[in-house]
């Protein structure tokens, strides 16, 4: 069984954290990953920085810009991840944009992911149709699970098509927004989470975008298997550095009153 499916065996909602590779400092990547696992994170999205991240808000873009200035690149990331599986056992997903993958070479990229022990990929600007036509075979050959996004505007028929191309989970974007732009979920957000839950998809769902604290985390987990936290964690790293990662995870898991 792959690591992502195994992670979903647990009862409690999954805490999945996004961290930009090479941020705050170039060589922080591995330490951040290890600290996150030690603090109790269930899954990690490693952000491969891109100069023009269309789907991300200012917090993640700024961290990407910083990471690129620090010298992060696809090649450097794979060098850093060498041997990561000796110390980290939770699922690791690379989240990035398609152009750097295209330049690295899609086949070479998949091979490097498999070698490093990467379990899945989130590439928001690689659309479903192109993926299934050109890349699904090679991703799957290297044991990489492709994770697609859906939004409140995604039609039911398209969700079904995305379900068919998925094999672990679907990333449910909480609202029609870029990352880091909401504060608490409204009734219509919750109705959307429930509507998706009621579809009884054959793969799991996790909510992302707009989760910043225990309250939004528990809202998100009500109708899904967990949540991805990105901008809030990047802000935490900016403000408190890499030494207090456990505080962030503990605060998320705290019972909301």
């Amino acid at each position: 069984m792959n690591r992502i499916k195994r992670a979903f065996k647990q009862e409690k909602p999954l805490v999945s954290i996004y961290a930009t590779a090479g941020f705050p400092a170039l060589n922080d990547t591995v330490e951040v990953i290890q600290s996150l696992e030690a603090a109790g994170a269930d899954m990690i999205e490693i952000g491969l920085p891109f100069s023009d991240p269309l789907a991300d808000g200012p917090t993640i873009q700024q961290s990407s810009t910083k990471a690129l200035e620090n010298g992060m690149s696809t090649k450097v990331l794979f060098e850093q991840l060498e041997g990561i599986r000796d110390s980290v056992s939770i699922p690791l997903i690379i989240m990035g944009y398609f152009n750097p993958v295209l330049q690295f070479g899609v086949a070479e990229f998949c091979e490097a992911c498999e070698k490093a022990g990467i379990d899945g990929l989130i590439l928001p600007d690689l659309p479903l149709e192109i993926y299934t036509r050109d890349y699904q075979t090679i991703f799957e050959r290297h044991g990489l699970s492709m994770i697609f996004l859906i939004t409140p505007q995604t039609s039911e028929s398209r969700i079904r098509a995305i379900e068919a191309a998925s094999n672990t989970f679907i990333y449910m974007v909480s609202s029609s927004s870029t990352t880091g732009s909401t504060a608490g979920f409204s009734e219509s957000n919750m109705a959307y989470f429930k509507r998706i839950a009621d579809m009884n998809l054959s793969v799991e769902t996790i909510v992302g975008f707009g989760i910043a604290d225990a309250h939004t985390f528990s809202q998100a987990s009500q109708y899904s298997r967990g949540a991805i936290i990105g901008s809030a964690f990047i802000r935490h790293l900016e403000e408190r550095g890499t030494q207090h990662i456990a505080d962030f995870i503990n605060a998320l898991n705290a019972k909301h009153v």
Binding site: D52, Q62, N99, P127, Q153
Partner: protein
Amino acid sequence: MKTTSYHVDADGFYGEFGGAFIPEMLYPNTEELRNTYLEISSRPEFQLEFKALLKDYVGRPTPLFFASRLSEKYQTKIYLKREDLCHTGAHKINNTIGQILLAKALGKKRIIAETGAGQHGVATATVCALMGIECVVYMGALDIKRQAPNVARMKLLGATVRPAESGSKTLKDATNEAIRDWINNPVDTHYIIGSVVGPHPYPDMVARFQSVISEEIGAQLLEKEGRELPDYVIACVGGGSNAAGIYYHYLDLPQVKLVAVEAAGKGIHSGHSAATSALGKVGIIHGSKTLLMQTSDGQITEPYSISAGLDYPGVGPMHAHLYASKRAQFISISDDDAMTAGQELAKLEGIIPAIETSHAFAVFDQLDCKKDDIVVINLSGRGDKDLQTYINYFDL
């Protein structure tokens, strides 16, 4: 509708270029456009209003002017398609008129746009004022400083100008911010892209609205020369909207030679250039697979040109295909040669061109035009906006 290899295919590709490489958040927005743009824009009432506005508001048809002194100098017959005489000073408004009518037909209440030098921003603000629709223009924070008169124009026209503070704070970042706005406002907002770039159907939609340029040339040439087809069609290319417009009706007629002129900046290999065809590799920018200036790691780089309208790191997918298939000849022209050509046009024909456009006038050394060949150059914009650059360059 023509369906040959030089026009867009059913999936939104020009050969291997184009498509819609967009985050899922944008899928409903672009799907709505994809499903409606051809049907709405071919409705008789749409065409009637579009043509009436182009005639009475924009000032079309634009003249096709025989440039006799320029022709004498280069020993060939040079005609100028006078897009510089359009309302707001450039061809950009052909597209914004088309898209504002489309937005109205779709019931949109709010318009967003990106702009580099400000020409497309002004053209968008203009049609929004005309229609009484809210307008937000994203512009790189650096460009806002460099292009103060156009910022003032947009404000006078009632638009909100929002600075793009991310990345390199120029056109590509303004485009990113506009796309993000569209992600955050997926239902009531239409995004008017200013060039033949972005995800399908934008490149084709913008090319169609700009195709009025080549559509007019046939009858105009017939009247002046007794034949409809020119031998050469020349246009400058940044994203490529004026080129797409003047190539459109000739794409499938190989006897008409297409010449695309890019900005070499301080020299193709100087590190300060915008010659995308020479320097770019296949990649993804703003939802489109095209030729793109980037690092070996796939990070998009910042182009340079003395003309703010040509410094886009990509090129429209139609043009990437015209380049790869060799249907069009691509030439890059340096800042210096463009400035000299602009000054020459001013002195020989009494027309001060936009510096973007000046690039298209600097190619005659590299073409083998015969005395009886008919050459049409797209005079895509006028030079008023560039006066300060001319003043600084020539120490006027």
